[in-house]
Amino acid sequence: MNLGFIFREGFSGFSRAKYPFVVSVVTLAISLTLIGVSIVMGDNVFSYFRNLQSDFDVQLFYSPNATRDQQAAALEFCNTYPGVVYTRYISQHEAIAVFQEEFGENIFEVLQDNPFPASVRIGFDRYHQNTGYISGFTASLEQLPGVDTVTFHKALFLKLTSILRILTMVGGIFLLVLFIAAVLLTSNTIKLIILARFDWIETMRLIGASDFTIRAPFLVEGAFQGFLGGMLAMGAIHGIEAGVIKLTNLNLASRLIQFPEVILILLGTGIVLGILGSYRAVRRFIYLVV
């Protein structure tokens, strides 16, 4: 079977059945816009919680009588611990400044003494931000000489972790449901194209065309429609993003334009949706003809 024939027939779908072709492309574009907006929205919500989670760093407080060597050793321990992305040493003097910045009072002037110990704030990368790992780290840190206490907002961190897990799961299920709905919707509109080309299918079967030769042009046409639907959906998502930013002054953490994976995902999903929709429609209808 020559591929030229299959591609010619596939790409000529528009001229042979204009109305169903346009309906299919618009249906695909709407489905893909929903999927794309969900991805971008989901990613923004996810980023927000992820940033919130990264704010919960570990804080080490030195004993008031810790020596410089003990402080340096503890800091070195933190810096070389796998997963630690930053450490920030806060001297006793700096702690007073931080307090004054946050509460507006100079505690040294009030108490005539500095009650704050020197401390270190320690942040972990996203791959090591789990309570088991961080608890192990704090336990090791507390054993070091010169270390008084190590704080870590475990309960809040756990809550955020579970929120993120639920968001991932719900988002995944939502996208899957959207995808299945899009396949069903697309295959129903593609049936219009197949109905419009009933004569072509009948003739092809009578002259001895194989099932593949009859189906393949519809799959090519579906892929082409999916590609066009993907392009339209990208335009629509850009418009929606621009509208949302203009209306709300929101600073979206991820936008389609800064997120090339979404462009590829949309076009790829469009093509896959078009092919699946066509396959489902043609598989059922082809046997109704001769």
Binding site: N2, R16, T203, L206, I207, G208, A209, S210, D211
Partner: protein, 220 residues
């Protein structure tokens, strides 16, 4: 080449054919006559294996209705030409493209397609109409295109289901003459018709069918 052996088929709505037995040899011309609803189209559909008998079997060349696999049916149809009362041409393609379609499907080269379509259009007398669309042709011309499409692939047998049903008597005679010319070149022709008047002047082996039953054979 064609054989029906104890073939019976009953549709859900009741009609069908009963206990059909006959054979058609390579290169033969055979008429199948009977009134509307006698089962002529049913027998033809069994020949291109669109439907299958409940009992018995149909054989066309090496293909047997009891053993053929679904994927082999296109191979059978590439060896069988078919023409119908309603022509079944594609209206969005011109005469040349309609006739070329089976050859394209069979994977023939562009050169071979050009050569065979040109030759076939000459045979059916439509060379001057090769860039016309079906809607621009008369009924007789459309049936000629349909015949050209069926014989371009050089089939073993040409199945004709009431090929003159939509045509007036003179044009119908021309189509019948054309079918005889196709037969003269070695292609068997199996023609179903209820128009006995038409075939009187072109006698051939004739099977009579009535109410789904074989009512005998007339020899020329």
């Amino acid at each position: 080449m064609i054989s029906f052996k104890d073939v019976s088929l009953r549709y859900d709505r009741g009609a069908g054919v009963k206990n059909i037995n006959f054979q058609v040899r390579r290169g033969e011309f055979v008429y199948l006559i009977g009134p509307s609803g006698a089962g002529k189209s049913t027998l033809l559909r069994m020949l291109y294996m669109d439907i299958f008998p409940n009992t018995g079997y149909v054989e066309v060349d090496q293909f047997n209705s009891n053993t053929i696999k679904r994927r082999q049916i296109p191979k059978l149809r590439q060896k069988v030409g078919m023409i119908f009362q309603d022509y079944k041409l594609l209206n969005d393609r011109d005469v040349f493209q309609n006739v070329a379609l089976p050859l394209v499907v069979m994977g023939a080269s562009r050169r071979d397609i050009d050569r065979r379509v040109t030759k076939t259009l000459e045979e059916v007398g439509l060379t001057h109409r090769k860039h016309y669309y079906p809607a621009e042709l008369s009924g007789g011309e459309q049936q000629r295109v349909s015949i050209a499409r069926a014989i371009a692939k050089d089939p073993l047998v040409l199945l004709a289901d009431e090929p003159t049903g939509n045509l007036d008597y003179g044009v119908a005679q021309e189509i019948l003459n054309l079918l005889w010319r196709v037969n003269a070149k070695g292609t068997a022709v199996f023609m179903a018709t209820h128009n006995i008047e038409l075939i009187k002047n072109r006698p051939a082996r004739t099977f009579r069918l009535s109410h789904g039953e074989f009512k005998g054979e007339l020899l020329p």
